[in-house]
Amino acid sequence: MKLIIKTVTKPGSTRANKTGAWRSFMPVFDHKLCSKCGICAIYCPEGVVHKLENGFYEPDYEYCKGCGICANECPKKAIIMVLEGK
């Protein structure tokens, strides 16, 4: 790895760090209840809740830290936090 003296290489290079390993609880999205409002995506501090082609939302579990904001804010209670078996 070449040491660039003043800077870091590549914008967004933190993607190498998979913070999904931090989780104890994981959010489970129930599309049957979902109204496609997008609030889960807006308020995810990691920016890893993504809109699917069909308009519903899913988290990127490689990075999701399991903070639970999406579940807490969902107006339809379509997201529940489940203890992840490891």
Binding site: L3, I4, I5, K6, T7, V8, P11
Partner: protein, 395 residues
């Protein structure tokens, strides 16, 4: 038009040198005795003589911080300060060097408070010698001005990329009127290429400057700074010669000598006192003394090899320091010269005199006294290091 001398204030000559070096951004905060430099630059800007942004700020800390941002954005930058202002910048000096930003600054050497004192000594810049800035000390006004484009060339070298300060003694050089040659724009354009850094703050190529380096990566950054200083050691000599080729003037690269080759007594010093020492040496030589001068121009990087070579015939070495490390009872030049000799088998007594604090004048007679004192070493009387020229009624 070449070699046309004019009589101007030292500060004006320096401001003019900055102007012809074509900086993009100047930011500074006024403090005696630097004020005339920044005032002259402000006038140049107000008269449209510089294609440069001149930014007044609310403190020296903000001045150097603004230049850190400007330099990272790709600008050639300049500031000037002294004493309290330089001390206030202390944190940012490390930061600028660690971020490898080739900011150039004139330090108009002045004593540090407390007690408050506006006159010359070199405590201010010496106290910053660990910050990773190149430091060159000027002997006279011409050199103070000429060093500016030299430092840009050295600092902006892609293998160096370190900030650099040129040190000129406050009032003695900043406020004196001397005949000088004002640097010609055409020659400076020939000598100094444009500043075009490879990596800058640019939305088209986003990069992050100033990362957080934990124990696994921090050391290598320091190592690289030190390596850059080693490159600077050679480059300072080269650039001094390149300057001579274009302008026809040379004051030494890392060091310079005056009647040094056969000298048994060698006086070492930095800055304007060099001129006085040369006059003292002329007098003493005419009286049969075997005495010479070793001028240290570059203090950082420290030219250990050049110094060792230069004093190899000396029987006694005198160092003059306009600074002190309180608690060590020694000035920095003395300490570092002794240190670089220690592991060699060349043994010469090095006697340290600390003098000229807070602007106390150093006349030729004082230099002669110090030489007499130093010669007592032959009789076995050896004082390693002391503050001299003390007032009995106050000490």
């Amino acid at each position: 038009m070449r070699n046309r001398m004019v009589v101007v204030e030292g500060s004006f000559a320096v401001a003019h040198a900055v102007k012809v070096s074509r900086p993009h951004v100047i930011s500074a905060y006024p403090i005696t005795p630097q004020t005339h430099i920044v005032e002259d630059l402000a006038q140049f800007a107000a008269d449209g003589e510089m294609n440069c942004e001149y930014m007044n700020v609310e403190s020296e800390f903000s001045a150097i911080s603004a230049l850190i941002g400007a330099s990272a954005a790709g600008a050639r930058t300049y500031s000037s300060t002294t004493s309290q202002g330089l001390a206030l910048m202390h944190e940012a000096l490390f930061n600028a060097s660690g971020m490898r930003l080739p900011i150039i600054m004139t330090v108009v050497n002045r004593a540090l408070s407390a007690p408050i004192n506006i006159w010359n000594d070199q405590q201010d810049s010496i106290s910053q010698r660990d910050t990773g800035w190149i430091q060159l000390y000027a002997e006279d006004v011409q050199e103070s001005a000429d060093t500016i484009p030299q430092l840009y060339k050295i600092a902006e070298d892609p293998d160096i990329l370190l900030p650099a300060m040129t040190c000129m003694d406050g009032f003695i050089l900043s406020h004196v009127y001397e005949p000088v040659i004002l640097l010609e724009q055409s020659l400076t354009d020939e000598f100094l290429p444009r500043y075009s850094p490879e990596i800058v703050l640019d939305p088209k190529n986003p990069m992050s400057f100033g990362a957080f380096a934990d124990p696994s990566t921090y050391t290598e950054f320091r190592y690289k700074q030190e390596k850059a200083m080693a490159v600077a050691l050679n480059r300072i000599e080269e650039v001094a010669n390149e300057f001579n080729d274009v302008y026809g003037r040379y004051y030494g690269g890392l060091i310079d000598g005056y009647l040094l080759d056969d000298a048994e007594i060698v006086i070492m010093a930095m800055g304007s006192v060099i001129g006085t020492i040369k006059d003292a040496i002329d007098e003493l030589r005419s009286e049969g003394e075997s005495i010479g001068l070793l001028k240290v121009r570059s203090f950082r990087p420290f030219p250990a090899d050049a110094i060792k070579k230069a004093i190899k015939n000396a029987k006694v070495v005198i160092t003059l320091d306009k600074n002190i490390s309180i608690g060590k009872n020694e000035g920095a030049l003395c300490t570092e010269v002794k240190a670089c000799l220690y592991n060699t088998d060349f043994r010469v007594p090095v006697i340290g005199f600390m003098i000229g604090f807070g602007g106390r004048d150093i006349p030729i007679s004082m230099i002669r006294n110090l030489v007499t004192k130093a010669k007592l070493v032959e009789k076995g009387i050896f004082v390693e290091s002391e503050i001299v020229d003390l007032r009995e009624d106050l000490a």
